[in-house]
């Protein structure tokens, strides 16, 4: 069928082309059907760097803001670890502050760091460049998206300074306890958290619509969906998930805000507090959990899918081999995305919902293992007999594969109802989700930063510091989270402020101290990484063009770093997928996407 279509296309287009000069039939690509995009050219410092409409600058703004707020999340985790490891030495963290740290650490890391960094940061920077567009389709809306995100972050941070402090309800914010007296931050903190999340959703929607439409409607000539780098597929699918999952969070936030401020009973049952009955009745706390996890589970994949995509590109480029099973990879991303909407209640096995639900949701959950396993096999098969360069992006990619398999396998345990029930709310769960959606995506983020830093700044990051960063982060992550699995097995509950000499801890006391020390070391290594970024941005070794010899369009702009409008006068025309590495039959080692077939007549062209 492909054969037939191609022939048809070539014939019709050959008739259409009236430019006069001879074009070999194989090089024929349909004429542009998208009008040339008109861009807003900034003239002043403010419109160029601050209120900027260039997706690349917006991407960097997103990334810097997310990193800044992520640092707060990191520091909060140090406080928690000191308390857990050495409760008698470091007693500055009271129980209330501990819960507030847990909550803010979780919410910051999941939503404000990972989501914003992957979609807002990498999405903005890479989408227009990789699909061959001059910018996002609506740069103005894109700019507003970032400023909404910044306001959301500021509202979140401001909750540290209000009476009662930020909310301490746990990142899941379950009512009724989240808004009842006794929970830290039940006065102002929870309201600010809910408002901040709502603003985040609104801001993200503006950006997300841009990402989706840029990918669907603004690709360059020759760029079919099946010629897009997997990075774009991952970001695209994750954005679609976000656009469909965030509404549930938004609705839950509105309803809980009303419960808190107006005294409605959406989630509040008849309930007594301090010996007095609250005026609420008939609400359903389970409803909140359903809404929250209808957002919360796709959220896991909103973070994971861009990581899947980016790591596929990193592995392919740094192993000098085409990605194994490209189409399978694309379909796996799409299927994982679709399935992620029908598994949410596996977070609620112990919530008291109808027990038959557990059966259904365990089944759908375990089905996700199939496309996920396909992806892991394909990564490994891409490496198989590849020309593996142990560059830092490759190291992080390998770290990702191992970590992801680890975290994924514990997911199979937790997805089963009977195994989940005894492990529920123990450190096993903490270890699982940190491995699978904390460390694994972070490995990809680090790898991606080392990979694309030359493109963004024109300079390389320091390689020695990078290797130190990788090895300490990678080994350290295992030092932190492997013991936590064991703590979970012996029944140590999560979210407990102090269990130094509780009966659970008889065999685990030393472990907690070990974890704390490891966490501090890993944490400080990230400071080293930040130093590397700042230092290298100004004094790093200058990078030549396309230092990794990659094929995708972002490396083939006339200027590096790319300028406003990305591609100079003419948009590139794409003839092939971005994975033509080590193609047999020719003398060059890689063929960029915009190289016409007539330039490499002896190369076997991959059909995509």
């Amino acid at each position: 069928m492909d054969e037939e279509n191609n022939n048809n296309k070539i014939e019709t287009k050959a008739a259409d082309s009236s430019s006069g000069s001879y074009v070999p039939p194989a090089d024929n690509i349909p004429a542009s059907e998208i009008p040339e995009q008109e861009l807003y050219h900034a003239k002043s410092f403010w419109t160029r760097w601050v209120f900027c409409q260039d997706a690349k600058v917006i991407g960097v703004q997103y990334a810097l803001t997310a990193t800044a707020v992520g640092l707060i999340g990191l520091i909060l985790s140090w406080g928690m670890r000191l308390q857990l490891g050495f409760p008698e030495t470091f007693s500055f963290l009271g129980p209330a502050t501990y819960y507030q740290s847990v909550t803010m650490h979780g919410m910051i890391m999941v939503v404000y760091l990972l989501t914003a960094l992957f979609l807002g940061g990498f999405g903005n920077y890479l989408i227009p460049l990789m699909v061959g567009a001059r910018d996002m389709v609506f740069p103005y809306v894109n700019m507003v998206s970032f400023w909404m995100f910044l306001v959301a972050v500021l509202v979140l941070i401001s909750s540290f300074f209000v009476p009662g402090g930020p909310t301490g309800a746990g990142w899941t914010l379950y009512p009724p306890q989240a808004i009842m007296p006794g929970t830290p931050g039940s006065e102002m903190g929870i309201v600010l958290m809910l408002i901040s999340l709502s603003l985040f959703v609104i801001g993200f929607t503006m950006g997300g619509l841009n990402y989706v439409i840029t990918i669907l409607q603004a690709r360059t000539r020759g760029m079919t969906l099946m010629r897009m780098p997997l990075t774009i597929w991952g970001i695209f699918t994750a954005t679609v998930l976000a656009l469909l999952a965030f509404p549930a969070l938004f609705v839950a936030c509105i309803m809980m805000t009303l419960d808190n401020l107006l005294g409605t009973s959406f989630f509040m049952p008849e309930i007594f507090t301090m010996g007095e009955q609250l005026g609420t009745s008939g609400g359903s706390p389970i409803l909140f959990q359903h809404l929250f996890w209808f957002f919360g589970h796709p959220e896991v994949y909103i973070v994971a899918l861009p990581a899947f995509g980016i790591v596929s590109d990193l592995i392919s480029v740094h192993a000098r081999k085409n990605i194994f099973g490209y189409r399978m990879m694309v379909w796996a991303i799409v299927i994982i995305g679709a399935l992620s909407f029908v598994v949410w209640a596996h977070h609620m096995y112990v919530s008291g919902m109808n027990p038959y639900f557990g059966f259904f949701f365990a089944t759908t959950t375990l089905i996700i293992a199939v496309p996920t396993a396909i992806k892991v096999y394909n990564w490994v098969l891409t490496l198989w007999r590849g020309n593996i360069h142990l560059t830092i992006p490759m190291l992080f990619s390998l770290g990702f594969i191992v970590t992801f398999v680890n975290g994924g396998i514990t997911g199979l345990f937790l997805g089963n109802v009977i195994i989940d029930i005894p492990l529920s709310d123990t450190y096993f769960v903490v270890a699982h989700f940190h491995m699978v959606m904390g460390i694994a995506p972070l490995m990809v983020i680090f790898g991606a930063i080392y990979h694309w830093f030359p493109l963004i700044s024109g300079r390389h990051l320091n390689q020695t510091l990078g290797k130190i960063h990788f090895w300490i982060s990678f080994v350290g992550a295992y030092a932190i989270y492997f013991p936590m699995h064991y703590l979970g097995f012996i029944g140590v509950p999560r979210r407990y402020y102090e269990m130094y000499d509780s009966p659970y801890m008889t065999t685990g006391v030393g472990l907690n101290q070990f974890i704390t020390v490891a966490a501090l070391i890993v944490g400080f290594t990230q400071i080293l990484f930040l130093y590397n970024i700042i230092h290298s941005a100004f004094y790093g070794e200058k990078s030549e063009k396309n230092p990794w010899k990659a094929n995708s369009l972002e490396w083939h702009t006339p200027e590096m770093p790319p300028e406003h409008g990305n591609f100079g006068k003419e948009l590139p025309v794409v003839y092939r997928w971005p994975y033509d590495f080590s193609v047999p039959g020719i003398d060059r080692e890689y063929i960029p996407q915009h190289v016409a077939p007539s330039e490499v007549p002896t190369a076997k062209v991959e059909k995509t």
């Binding site: 279509n5 690509i29 349909p30 004429a31 542009s32 059907e33 998208i34 009008p35 040339e36 008109e38 807003y40 389709v137 609506f138 103005y140 929607t205 619509l209 841009n210 989706v212 439409i213 669907l216 409607q217 603004a218 690709r219 360059t220 000539r221 020759g222 760029m223 079919t224 969906l225 099946m226 010629r227 656009l243 469909l244 965030f246 509404p247 549930a248 938004f250 609705v251 839950a252 509105i254 309803m255 009303l258 107006l262 005294g263 409605t264 009973s265 959406f266 005026g279 609420t280 009745s281 008939g282 609400g283 359903s284 409803l287 809404l291 209808f294 794409v574």
Partner: protein, 235 residues
């Protein structure tokens, strides 16, 4: 650049495959803004679905009887109890405004500037009337019947909470639409879509396609109202 002739593309299932296998655009001949509005509306559908599903859950699970809508939303006209009278008028006005919007889009594409502008203005006034009647309904429920978000004399307290939240959220959508309709009416009267005058905020040119995009939003808001009407007033 050559504008794509969508009539020459393959149709049906083959066309679907062709469009998704094609380069540049997936939705052939669809302007960026229009595609964006559709995706936004899909996302917004999920918001309203979450609201309405929550409402259904609450109705199915409250321990106290749910109020009988025909009584709560009845109006007494000339001594006769007419159930759902105001809602019927509101619905009629809103659906009619959808009709005028559709006509405005038609005249917009025919470059009939005056007619288009008047019809947008009519749509805006229809929307404003709807919001006004909703304000009347709210004030009647609040001041006359004593319905509050945290309780009401008719039955389950979730009734008031969901009513104010969902109709309020929908009313906000209508109000935003009305604001944009007035802006667009002014822009059309001034001829912005003919002269390509640049937008105040975005400094980008715009044409009559923008009216169709606004129309999509307006029809969506009306469609959502039909569901709210069914779930709140008829159920």
């Amino acid at each position: 650049m050559s504008e794509i002739d969508t009539s020459k593309l393959p149709q049906g299932g083959k066309g679907f495959v062709h469009d998704f296998a094609a380069d540049q655009t997936t939705f052939k001949g669809v302007p960026w803004g229009k595609a964006m509005m559709w995706i936004f509306l899909l996302s917004d559908t999920f918001i309203f679905s979450c609201f309405l599903i929550s409402l259904m859950t609450a109705r199915a699970s409250t321990t106290v009887e749910w109020p009988y809508p025909s009584e709560v939303f009845g109006l007494t006209m000339f001594g006769v109890e007419v159930p759902l009278l105001l809602i019927a008028i509101m619905t009629f006005v809103l659906i009619t405004s959808s009709g005028t919007m559709a006509l405005a889009v038609k005249y917009g594409y025919e470059k009939n500037r005056k007619m288009c502008a008047w019809l947008i203005l009519a749509t805006a006034i229809g929307g404003l009337t709807f919001v006004g009647m909703q304000a009347f309904e709210w004030s009647k429920l609040i001041f006359h019947d004593g319905v509050r978000p945290w309780g009401n004399p008719f039955g389950a307290e979730q009734f008031g909470a969901f009513f104010f939240m969902i109709t309020g959220f929908h009313g906000t959508h209508v109000s935003i639409g009305v604001i944009f309709l007035f802006i667009f009416a002014r822009k059309t009267f001034r001829g912005d879509f003919d002269t390509g005058r640049r937008g105040y905020f975005t400094s980008m040119k715009s044409d009559y396609k923008a009216i169709e995009i606004l129309g999509l939003y307006w029809h969506f808001v009306d469609l959502v109202w039909v569901f709210i009407f069914a779930f709140f007033y008829l159920w």
